[in-house]
């Protein structure tokens, strides 16, 4: 499952030490949920471009939408990946 893979990528990139299966796919990754900030988003963007071969774009003002949840991030990666 891509969602598990992305969860692991998030945890490894950001040194979070939580169990991948404990991330609620629908919960927000930022602020409330995992408590990530925009620096984390940039770190993740770099890991994602290395692993999946595309550069994250936020499309207008939707920075927040891509990272809204593990599920939305995984869907975005699925539709954009080149590797």
């Amino acid at each position: 499952m891509l969602e598990n893979e992305v969860a692991t990528l998030i945890i490894d990139t950001l040194n979070l030490r939580v169990d991948p299966s404990s991330i609620d796919p629908q919960a927000p990754l930022f602020n409330e949920g995992l408590g990530l900030d925009s620096i984390d988003a940039l770190e993740l963007a770099m890991s994602i471009s290395k692993k999946y071969g595309f550069q994250l774009r936020s499309n207008d003002e939707n920075n927040a939408n891509i990272f809204a949840s593990l599920s939305s991030l995984s869907k975005h990666i699925e539709s954009c990946r080149t590797t």
Binding site: L14, V18, S38, I39, L42, A45, M46, R57, N63
Partner: protein, 414 residues
């Protein structure tokens, strides 16, 4: 003028929290608030807790926002783009220069955000000094793109005050990712100025993106390394300049890290040593200010930075006191003992704190969850290690060397 239209719609209160994310709306909101004689409050964060604290501080306060739909206990005024009938009809408003019109925050050593008052005169004169140093008198046609929010001192100075003072135009966007920064810059006429941070810049360099031509890149919030600055200058065929300052002082010095390690003070700013600390004095600052950085003067107008007070850490551009972070960690229900530690992460791109915690009843995730409610995400430990006990010595203190060893042991177990 949009600002006059908006001023007519704003509620009659004494303080306005300007949370607008679109930079144009932020600017209109700021001017509208000034026209209405309201104090402009720029909060340390958007969390409900931050807003609640402000509400306790001021009775007559409300939020102006263009995006936030969250239910809050505070009065919200939604920004609706005003319909402007005759843009040229109105004169530019006169702003009282000495009145404390703005309030910004720093995380003080007690952990509570400390408010700082700014007058229009202070900000306006600061923008003149910085702009002259950056050569803006020859760049008055320039357009500014900023990747930082206007609610913090650097963003306010560089993306709002500099353009107002020097007649530059400003993009309303605040791109985050490298590809977005390139696209937003592309939309602007030349000459362009990019106001950003080392984090965004590193992302652009590592993604191998080609940024459109800029007159210069202006960076602040954390140190721009000479290596990254040189890479950025070469890749993007520009100059990478850096600002040194603080919320208390505003910008006070600049340098070009690819070529020089010394900071050059802005004209009219003086540094005087007081025992171990340095005091900043300038005509446009209401009072002189003691810096929390250690530095060494290399000439009358130049200095190098040596580091911060050992108790203060700066993570992702935000300051906190380690002692305060430790206190908060140790005060959590179910935590017996705990300490934060900033590992020496030369290889890591952004330094992050780690923490060692002793607890019988909570696991790592539960402790992290409890901390999340207390701290800005920047200071959350990445990672947090649970340990049987902390290496306290006979006097109850924990030597730094013991933490380094403990960090190595915990890292090896992972």
């Amino acid at each position: 003028m949009d600002a006059r239209t908006l001023a007519g719609q704003l509620p009659d209160r004494s303080c306005l929290i300007n949370l607008c994310e679109n930079r144009y709306r932020f600017l209109v909101g700021l001017i509208a608030g000034i026209l209405k004689g309201q104090k402009i409050v720029l909060p340390p964060g958007r969390a409900n807790e931050d807003l609640k604290r402000l509400q306790q501080r001021y009775e007559s306060i409300y939020c102006l926002t263009d995006t936030d739909t969250r239910q809050a206990d505070i009065e919200i005024h939604r920004y609706v783009d005003p319909v402007c009938s005759d843009p040229l009809e109105q004169a530019i408003p006169e702003v009282p220069s000495a009145k404390p019109l703005f309030e910004l925050f720093t995380s003080g050593s007690t952990g509570k955000a400390t408010p700082h008052q700014k007058s229009w005169g202070t900000l306006w004169e600061g923008a003149r000094l910085t702009g002259e140093r950056l050569g803006l008198d020859n760049l008055t046609q320039a357009a500014v793109l900023a990747t930082v929010p206007p609610q913090h001192m650097f963003g306010l100075e560089a993306s709002i005050l500099l353009p107002l003072r020097w007649g530059l135009s400003v993009s309303s966007e605040q791109p985050l990712f490298a590809a977005d920064i390139a696209a937003s810059l592309e939309k602007l006429p030349t000459p362009r100025i990019l106001v950003t941070t080392p984090f965004h810049l590193r992302n652009c360099v590592e993604e191998g993106i080609k940024l459109p031509q800029t007159a210069f890149i202006l960076s602040a919030t954390s140190t721009l390394s000479p290596t990254l600055a040189a890479q950025a200058e070469k890749l993007f065929d520009t100059q990478a300049l850096e600002i040194y300052g603080s919320t208390e002082t505003g910008a006070i010095a600049t340098r070009r890290p690819a070529l020089e390690s010394d900071w050059s003070l802005l004209p009219g700013i003086t540094l005087n040593q007081e025992s171990k600390a340095w005091r900043v004095t300038a005509a446009h600052l209401r009072k002189s200010i003691l810096l929390s950085d250690r530095l060494k003067k290399t000439s009358e107008h130049q200095f190098i930075l040596l580091g911060r007070d050992s108790d203060m850490v700066k993570i992702a551009g935000k300051r906190a006191s380690l002692e305060d972070l430790n206190l908060r960690l140790q005060s959590l229900d179910g935590v017996e003992d705990g300490i934060f530690f900033l590992p020496d992460q030369r290889s890591a791109s952004v330094p992050r704190l780690t923490a060692f915690v002793v607890s019988n009843s909570l696991d790592e995730q539960e402790i992290t969850q409890a901390l999340r409610e207390q701290l800005d995400p920047a200071f959350l430990p990445r990672p947090l290690f649970k340990v049987d006990r902390l290496p306290r010595n006979a006097t109850g203190k924990i030597p730094q060397s013991a933490l380094v060893t403990l960090f190595k042991q915990c890292g090896a177990k992972q």
